[in-house]
């Protein structure tokens, strides 16, 4: 495949669509309408951060709140989103400097051998995560009395409908509107009447930490890291920045977009911890919970019917938006790997590899969820842990690329960026090692 895919001499639809978007940006910049410019250029950062506040992430935050209440994990979650910003800002720079996706850069600069390793990690992580998104959709449906086949079927239909838009800008705005549903966790948290003093105390002291340092604690720590930084985010945001057509001139807005996304997602994540905290106060045993729906059901007598309904709706939305972004991340990466065209501006024929990957992965993940008696909650937490472990090599590829001066020029990483990136790799690897030791030697 040569990546062209269209008749000779014909201007590709992908170029025309992107040029129209860029024309709007150019005019707005000339008029110095800065807020409008930010509105036009924002999207990949907010989407990637709210997309990562997905089904398993919200379950991880709910489990955190129900197990530890409001304490250590509140500032810890803020720290993980700061980490996410550091990582994702690098993908924005890579995108605007090279106009290429992450997978194609790995293949082109490091060769097929390392490229296939990176892809194996991504595909493994993405398929597992996509399964858990449909678990979240199914769980939300169960709360409202919907049969799994109905909620999962509706989820699949919506993912496929989003791909049928065949226009990056429309796809992005549609998903941003859906992703606003992540904020449903905020009113749910307010209905749990969180103690402001306890929140402030947690932020100031990183405590309390009831129960101390145990395997459960390390698992939740890893799950919460996996809830904010995962390999699919790197591949998705870089490709989305390229598909949207961002250039070096748009770097400031790309950074603001990413920071804004991290902030909104962190607030929604902490709200989920606070919303589930009444389960901790009531000493609810969440060990027997089969899915995210059980959190909403158990919360009903504690935060009321409306609060529990918002919680269940938020869980469904989290799964749905993430199913759309993660399947698109797989599409970009697979099409880049086989050097096929990759853009949400493509028609179905030219983008058959691109759309085919998203459709197949979506159908596969949805099918797994419909298997009767599958251990869905246990799977959800384990997937976040695996995502965290896969992040270390993904970050190394990212650091190598972002330090590659031949392709990055003056946008290459500086010492501080490398220090932060290196520390994140070491922290994630150490947390994984502690988890391994506690798993093998639990006593």
């Amino acid at each position: 495949m040569n990546g062209q895919g269209g008749p000779a001499g014909e201007v590709p639809r992908e170029d025309v669509m992107r040029a129209r978007d860029r024309l709007r940006v150019q005019k707005t910049r000339a008029q110095r309408r800065w807020l409008r410019l930010l509105w036009l250029l924002a999207g990949p950062g907010v989407l990637v951060m709210l997309g990562e506040n997905d089904g398993p992430s919200m379950v991880s935050y709910a489990t955190t709140g129900a197990t530890y209440g409001v304490g250590f994990f509140v500032p810890f979650i803020l720290l993980t989103f700061a980490m996410a910003y550091v990582v994702q800002e690098m993908t924005v720079r890579l995108g605007v400097a090279t106009h290429r996706g992450h997978a194609e850069l790995i293949f082109q600069r490091f060769g097929s051998f390392w490229g296939y390793f990176a892809m194996a990690d991504l595909v493994f992580g993405n398929i597992l995560t996509l399964v858990t998104e449909f678990i979240a959709i199914q769980a939300g449906g169960l709360y409202f009395g919907l049969k799994p086949v109905v909620s999962v079927g509706a989820g699949v239909a919506l993912v496929l409908a989003s791909l049928a838009l065949r226009r990056y800008a429309t796809w992005e705005r549609t998903l941003l509107a859906l992703a606003a549903g992540n904020l449903l966790f905020i009113p749910a948290a307010l209905m749990a009447h969180p103690d402001g003093a306890a929140l402030a105390h947690a932020l100031a002291t990183w405590g309390p930490l009831p129960g101390g340092f145990r395997t459960d604690f390390v698992v939740l720590m890893l799950a919460d890291i996996g809830a904010t930084v995962t390999p699919w985010m790197i591949f998705f945001q870089q490709s989305a920045v390229v598909d949207k057509g961002l250039t070096r001139a748009d770097l400031v807005q790309g950074r603001i977009d990413t920071a804004l996304g991290a902030l909104i997602a962190a607030v929604a994540a902490i709200a989920t911890v606070a919303a589930a905290a009444p389960l901790f106060a009531a000493h609810t045993d969440i060990g027997q919970f089969a899915s995210g729906a059980d959190f909403a059901t158990a919360l009903q007598p504690l935060i009321g019917h409306t609060g529990a309904t918002l919680f269940a709706l938020g869980m469904t939305e989290a799964g749905l938006v993430a199913a759309m972004t993660i399947s698109t991340s797989s599409s970009y990466a697979l099409a880049e790997t086989v050097s096929a065209r990759h853009s949400l501006n493509l028609d179905f024929h030219t983008g058959r590899w691109f759309y085919g990957a998203a459709i197949l992965s979506t159908l596969f993940a949805a099918g797994i969820v419909l298997i009767p008696h599958a251990p869905l909650l246990a799977l959800t937490l384990s997937v976040n842990v695996i995502a965290t472990l896969l992040m270390a090599p993904a970050l190394l590829f990212l650091l190598l690329l972002v330090n590659d001066r031949e392709i990055m020029g003056e946008l290459a990483n500086r010492r501080l960026g490398n220090l932060a990136g290196g520390l994140i790799i070491i922290a994630i690897s150490l947390a994984g090692a502690v988890y391994g030791v506690l798993t093998v030697f639990p006593s």
């Binding site: 990546g3 992107r18 293949f107 600069r109 060769g111 090599p393 190394l396 798993t439």
Partner: protein, 62 residues
């Protein structure tokens, strides 16, 4: 405004004609290869551990 005029707003590297031309390969240094292998080994050890813990938890629960 014609289609050609609209296309002028794209940087040359954003046009499909250039975007799909691969970059040349770069040579990884010894320490870079060593780090990549180290983290590969880490993943190959750590992921099975998670799967083991998952299966163990399932067996204990059911």
């Amino acid at each position: 405004m014609t289609q050609d005029d609209i296309l002028q707003v794209l940087e040359p590297a954003q046009r499909s004609a250039q975007k799909y031309i691969p970059y040349p390969r770069r040579k990884l240094s010894g320490w870079e290869v060593a780090l990549l292998w180290l983290l590969r080994a880490y993943v190959l050890i750590a992921v099975p551990l998670v799967i083991y813990a998952f299966v163990k938890a399932l067996a204990a629960g059911g």
